[in-house]
Amino acid sequence: MSWLTWRLQRSTIIAAVALIAVFAVVVPNLDLSSHLDSRAANGLFVLGPPAFATVVAVFWGAPLVAREYEHNTYKLVWSRDRSATRWLAVRVGQLLAPLVVLTIAVNLITRVLYDRIVAASQYPPSDVTPYDLWPPLQLTMVLAAFGLGILAGMVARSSVPAMGITLVVYAALRIGLGMFARPYLLPPLRYIGEGPPDGSMPVGFGYLDGAGHELSKSDAVTQCAATSPTGVQKCMGSNQIVRQYVDAQPPDRIQDLQLIEFGIYAAIAAVTLAAAWLVLRRRMVA
């Protein structure tokens, strides 16, 4: 990292390091036998890494180019003998090293937290899974955040709107992809009359009629109620009139899902950075 990059970015870098340091101090000191601390541990595990990526997007990425426009310093910076696109490449390149180091630190601390939660309870909450902790995936999630922030700054040319756009878009991306799209990245397998193997990622469940068509949940209740009004529970559990199915991703597919998600975030990172670079080059030519 050059002296100039350090001077420009030091407050954001120091702030990120300080937040991670707080995280590192809190994690070993949580008392997981207490109800309060174990709730806090789950919250930290689920929200900690996405919060880091979001901070990178909003505070490292978005102002990077936007600030130069806002303060009109771009006229000075980009008219030197070095081209504007080279300036962008150098600035992004120099921030990548601290970004990778800090992401690895977040990853290691979260792993410690995961081990502690799993060791402390027989049945850890369903949202405590090591899925996001696969290092390539976690790294590309942060790089996509950074790229998105830079592109938003390039488009908005003003820090505050760029930060707002980045926050909303990145949060929507993470919630949409992580909570809703993830189980469907591969067509889930259907288990009828048997449960999915241990360690599966649950997708959904429902009921089928005799012909194998999916029934809505209230239809299943009604059909059972019509045939055996006294024993609806028994009827629905016994697979006689309506059959239960479970959709799930078996454990041996988890790695493939991670790989697909890694590909999506890597593509977002590459496309946003390339788009920012192209927009800047076009503006310089014009």
């Binding site: 309060l36 909003v58 505050v160 707002g164 926050l167 919630i175 009604t222 609806v232």
Partner: protein, 281 residues
């Protein structure tokens, strides 16, 4: 003044309006889904209960219920409150804006009143929508385990006050820091810290009650919120620490008063700060 406020803040206003409308629509949709299933399951016996019958939609229920309000308040703090004064200082426009025939106090007062009214409106809509969903989940009985303690942060007056607090916090931080990006970052950290500390500790502000666990492992009075236990589990010596259901109202008002006091103090700080700047300048 209305026109200037709208021009200066329209991006933030429209963006937040879109987010609020989206989350509120999602909450109302989920409320419909839960209410319909409550109805169907009361007529026939749902083997899996209402949450099970919701299936994949269950994720949306929790996501919209627990993330919606903090996201709205966070956006208000970071993008309405923090830049309001910080931007005027950073771009030195305060010298111009405050030198006109509108006095600085009136300038600040009318801006805060207009934006504060918008905060009230947006957070009120979101609070009403999420309270509908909470009500339907309570009707589902034990399936969700939703009760007034679990929904403490969803109580509408709490939601509205904590959005107002977020706005005034951003305002005060912007005044003290005077640089927009730095003010936004500081606001985010302070807001998240206060919010989390209050949410995680509020049930300890009134000393909890203790009861000896029954040998079967139960022993809490109905509706009580379990905080922790000590002693040997599964043995007669175990002690359960809890808050009784009668204290729900106490905790609601404790939280509301906390945010109200914080809001008033921060508003006073901002007021005094602007007054000093204009006096010296």
């Amino acid at each position: 003044m209305l026109w200037i406020t709208w021009r200066q803040h329209r991006t933030a206003l429209i963006g937040t309006l879109v987010v609020t409308a989206g989350v509120s629509a999602l909450l109302l949709w989920m409320w419909q889904a839960v209410a319909e299933l409550n109805d169907a399951c009361s007529q026939h016996d749902c083997i899996t209960g209402v949450p099970g019958a919701l299936g994949d939609q269950l994720r949306w229920v929790y996501a919209s219920l627990y993330f919606g309000q903090p996201i709205l308040a966070g956006l208000v703090a970071m993008f309405w409150g923090a830049p309001l004064l910080a931007r005027e200082f950073e771009q030195r426009t305060y010298l111009l804006a405050w030198a006109q025939d509108v006095t600085p106090m009136r300038w600040l007062g009318s801006k805060v009143a207009l934006l504060g009214a918008a905060v009230l409106l947006l957070s009120g809509v979101l609070a009403a929508a999420s309270w509908q969903l909470v009500g339907a989940m309570k009707e589902s009985g034990n399936y969700f385990g939703m009760d007034d303690f679990k929904a403490l942060e969803q109580w509408p007056p709490t939601q509205v006050l904590y959005a107002l607090f977020a706005f005034v916090l951003g305002l005060a931080v912007g005044l003290l820091v005077r640089r927009t990006v730095l003010a936004i970052g500081t606001t985010l950290i302070v807001f998240a810290t206060v919010r989390l500390v209050v949410a995680f500790t509020v049930l300890w502000w009134v000393p909890p009650l203790r009861v000896a666990a029954s040998p079967q492992g139960g022993g809490l009075p109905p509706g009580a919120y379990y905080l922790s236990g000590y002693g040997m589990p599964y043995l007669r010596s175990a002690v359960l620490v809890y808050q009784p259901v009668e204290r729900v109202a106490t905790f609601r008002w404790l939280e509301v008063i906390t945010y109200a006091v914080l809001t008033l103090v921060l508003a006073g700080v901002a007021w005094a700060g602007v007054w000093r700047v204009t006096r010296v300048g």
